[in-house]
């Protein structure tokens, strides 16, 4: 009789109590600098989108004629727009630098079993970036 009771107690079931998940504060990212840096990196995407909006405005103004183009340039001279664009430029360069620095992590290249150093993967990206930027600038400044 006692052995049968012990055998019943040892039976496993599928039931498991819920895992404990502490609630995370909405401001967790303000706690440490690396967290804040991560959020800032992700928020740089907002200024990427802002640049696209700016380019669409520029294209629309060029299509409407010389006066609209001049008006667009004058609008961008507004101190508020200058401030937004300066901050935006810093964030957009931040996006580029962090994106290229992630390339060796995202794509691990091995030559003859040894891992290629990160700079050899991100370096060409930087070089390409400079070259393409120079080409675009040259096209527009000719």
């Amino acid at each position: 009789m006692v052995e049968k009771l012990e055998a019943e107690e040892k039976a496993y079931t599928l039931y498991h109590p819920r895992w404990y998940r502490p609630r995370v504060s909405t401001y967790w990212w303000l706690g440490r600098w690396p967290y804040l840096k991560f959020i800032l990196r992700e928020l740089s995407s907002i200024f990427v989108a802002w640049t696209v909006v700016l380019m669409l405005l520029a294209i629309a103004s060029v299509e409407r004629g010389p006066q609209a183009w001049a008006h667009f340039l004058a609008f961008m001279r507004n101190p508020l727009m200058v401030a937004i664009n300066v901050i935006g430029f810093l964030f957009v360069v931040f996006h580029t630098v962090t994106w290229f620095n992630l390339t060796p992590h995202a794509m691990v290249v091995r030559v003859r079993g040894k891992r290629v150093p990160g700079l050899m993967l991100s370096g060409p990206n930087y070089a390409l970036w400079i070259a393409i930027s120079a080409a675009v600038a040259w096209l527009l400044m000719r």
Binding site: V24, S25, T26, W28, W29, I39, E42, L43, S45, I46, F47, V48, A49, W50, T51, V52, V53, L54, M55, L56, A58, I59, A60, V62, E63, G65, P66, W69, A70, L73, A74, F75, M76, R77, M81, V82, N85, V86, G88, F89, V92, V93, H95, T96, W99, F100, N125, L128, W129, I132, S133, V136, A137, L139, L140, M141, R142
Partner: protein, 109 residues
């Protein structure tokens, strides 16, 4: 599309923001005359380039911003709203870009 947008954004967006947001308006570099820039963007390849420039980074933003809102502000319960605002915005921008670029006249000169 997120990573494609990220690469396009990393390579092309800084120079465009610098030129059109700062250098041209503030006169650091002489802005191109209207005739020149209108001639430049009329070219089909230029329009294709601008379409890619204006479309892919928007999808990059949409994906990244959506997850920043989830992880940063812990508002995953607003899933549907965030999804529509982010990807809807990206699609809207793409449609606007397509409409603007399709209707550019003046080619061939």
């Amino acid at each position: 599309m997120f990573s494609a947008g990220g690469v396009v954004a990393a390579l092309l967006i800084p120079v465009h923001l610098f030129l059109f947001g700062l250098a041209f308006p503030l006169g650091w570099i002489d802005p191109p005359s209207h005739a020149k820039i209108a001639g430049l963007i009329a070219h089909p390849l230029a329009r294709l380039y601008l379409f890619v420039l204006c479309s892919l980074p928007l999808f990059h933003w949409a994906h990244r911003f959506r997850y920043t809102l989830y992880d940063g502000l812990q508002i995953k319960h607003l899933n549907e709203v965030i999804f529509f605002l982010c990807y809807g915005g990206a699609i809207a921008g793409t449609v606007i870009a397509a409409y603007l670029l399709w209707n550019i006249g003046g080619w061939p000169r």
